[in-house]
Amino acid sequence: MNTTAQKSSTSHPRPTLEQLRAQDAWRRAEVVKNESGQKYDKYVDAAKALPALIMNSGLMQVLAFCQEKGQKESGWHYGRVAADLRDWLQQRFPQRFPSAEFEPFMNQLMQASPQDFQAITAEAFAWLRWLRQMASARQGRD
């Protein structure tokens, strides 16, 4: 028996970071769609807008903005997409972020070195790149 062939057919190679981001974005979009029903379009719009907001204003300002908006029913989608982003970043940087809750998360961001902060922001863009596509794909239109 060809043991090499057997091994390759049964082993599960580790997914790339891009695959993990894609999986996470796809799963979160499904959860929000199931929960929000007809209001799901708002989540898609927020996912689309977030990278430009971060580029123009910075990650911490945008997370604070989303937190404020998310406290009102009319701004739930901003709160939700920011919570999803914090969750993903907490998964990626567990030692930096013991919690994905807004206040402890922001405290950690405020204490991060410029290099860590830039790495976290770059990761936010990398994940949002997937979310804006996956959330839109779930919606059934561009």
Partner: protein, 315 residues
Amino acid sequence: MFEKHAAVFLYAVSPVHMGAGQAIGVIDNPIQRERHTRHPCFAGSGIKGAVRHSWEVLGGEKDQIDAILGPSPNPEERNGKELHAGATSFGDAQLVLFPVRSLRGGYVYATCPTAIERARRLLALVGVATPWDQVPPVAEGHCRVVNKDLLSNGNKLHLEAFEYDADATECEALKSIGKWLKDNALPKKNGKDNAFEYFRNKIASDLVLLSDTDFAYFSEHATLVEPHVRINDQTGTADEGGLFYTENLPPESLLIAPLLASQTRTGKNKGEEGWEDAFSVMAKIKNVMDGKLLQIGGDATTGRGLVVAKVLEGK
């Protein structure tokens, strides 16, 4: 074979949208970037197209467009003439300086060892000497500055939301690079007006050297991103799902591109009327471009793409 060589500095005086076409990323309409550095760039074809488009307005003779830039590949526009190569070549423009918001001084001209060394290499290849010292090393989270007035809290430089430790103030190596760029990268006069003097002086004083990593962060994530909406003709309001985002290279960015010239390739031989050597071709293209305002990239009707060209001929 190109016999004459030059470098062209392109200084943005408005946002520039040299688009990358349809792309799937964080921005709907991103700008062109180099694959390996992710620095913004201008494709040589875009620069050449812009020069061709403005040829006559910039003082070029209409009947020389084909000889110098090549005839149109479209047979109808070529009026039956044979297809042949143009006598000039435009390379891709690479980033040299990128403006970054600063707590002091408004903004600084940021650069990094890789951007400076690539510019120096290109200038050397086209025969332009750069009498500046070796670019000093700079660590992540650190910087080198010429102007100590940019610093606060002792030796801290604040760019956007980030703080950098200045390893050297009045850095001599950086000062010599800044002085050379001041003297060579922007026109000295616009007609009788000294319109560029302020910016030439600012390049010399507010040049900041960051690490390659820190510079790459700003050049990728600190561009100009604008939301646009599509207006519904019926309602006069924003169309549902019509929101999109466009990225621009910010004004005050500086790029450099190679420019090469050969003899004309129209089929005419040396001595025949219409034949021109590389010196003559380079003189003509320089006359059209040097110190002139070009429009490159898209969104021209909303004031995008204005760049000032400065041609430096090699030896």
